[in-house]
Symmetry: C2
Subunit: 217 residues, 2 copies
Amino acid sequence: MSSRAATRVFQGVEEQIATGQLKDGEKLDEASLAERFQVSRTPVREALLQLVGSGLATQIPKRGCFVKAPSFREMIEMFEVMSELEGMCARLAARRISDQQLAALKAANEGCEEAIQANDSDLYYHKNVEFHECIYTACGNSFLASETRSLRRRLQSFRRLQLRVRGRMPQSFNEHYEIIEALESGNADKADLVSRQHVMIQGERFNDLLVHMEQTQ
Amino acid sequence: MSSRAATRVFQGVEEQIATGQLKDGEKLDEASLAERFQVSRTPVREALLQLVGSGLATQIPKRGCFVKAPSFREMIEMFEVMSELEGMCARLAARRISDQQLAALKAANEGCEEAIQANDSDLYYHKNVEFHECIYTACGNSFLASETRSLRRRLQSFRRLQLRVRGRMPQSFNEHYEIIEALESGNADKADLVSRQHVMIQGERFNDLLVHMEQTQ
DNA sequence: CATCTTATTTTTGTATACGATAATTTCTAC
DNA sequence: GTAGAAATTATCGTATACAAAAATAAGATG
């Protein structure tokens, strides 16, 4: 956690976009943000630039920055890409994973199991990240790993909600088990397929959640 | 082309990294860059932030920015991801492409043919971009399209070199033809496979080029 | 002569100031 | 009363100023 003012502003605005406090299309006024975060315009502008870079805001020259929360369609698109990337990670990992890395993967999955037994969705969330992080490392392509990680991060605030959906944790855990099996046996095709489905199910769950939210509003 | 000073600096530095004038690890001194581009430090800092965002530079807090030219290994990794993304675009496009989009694709490919006959590698480069742009549009996933486009852009300066490699243009053209066939017949698997290979061949060509450069130095 | 401490300098990160352009308001003409 | 033009205001983009931290140089001590 950098103590830089610009980073604080960036993360603050990012958070507020994720939680919906800042809505799509809303203007990100430099002066207001500077006031809110008690800094000058300079770090605010740097934060805005980074937000534009990560796709959370749009910039219109001489007009300012505006929140660009992903639409429903864009979210689905991102899940579609995410499933491809996760599949690729798993496929490569099936060929390249070491015994040590496999052990770490199993350990992370045991952590997931403990979280389920404790019914601790927050712990599960973190252990789940650890699980996938093992696969990213094992895929042997650090560029792919970092791209996948960054997309995961971008979807994570929504993902966090999904895990609270009834029955998701045990199902997710079962999927993990299948992935481990595939990686252990070096079955790249199966690892790919299962991982893709693992993500797409989350995408569909996300869809469920959205539909539910629309219905209850 | 934006007339913004920050953009000018960004593109200038990007160019110099691509051409090798700025080497890996070299410090991007704010004052020097400001002097060189005849602007103040403010737009220089904005440009540096964007460079960090696009992975061309690293920032160490309170220490400054440093050029981070992709290593040989990273380039290979990027090609590996690129081939996956291109394959995905083609696979989706095979299911979703419209008659109109298919016509545009064929037109772009005819442009490629003309470029080959004129032996104009620069024209081929542009028509080739147009060809792939058609597929990105047709894949129906604009997030995927933009990610693929951005990775293509990142590899493009090297790609430009590759096309000058002897015999590459006609071969690339033949691969295009196969892609068109697959898309026209709605054969998603073939479209995926051929597109992947299309990129990986370029990656291998890139490898050849690097090896050649190392030998002649 | 080497090493640790301290002083100086450089450079980063942030604040403020200013000019230019777009948005808004006011005013005039019909 | 409305439409268009001019003036005003607000905001962006850039320049400069300043404070804090790190790098470097100088000096003292063993």
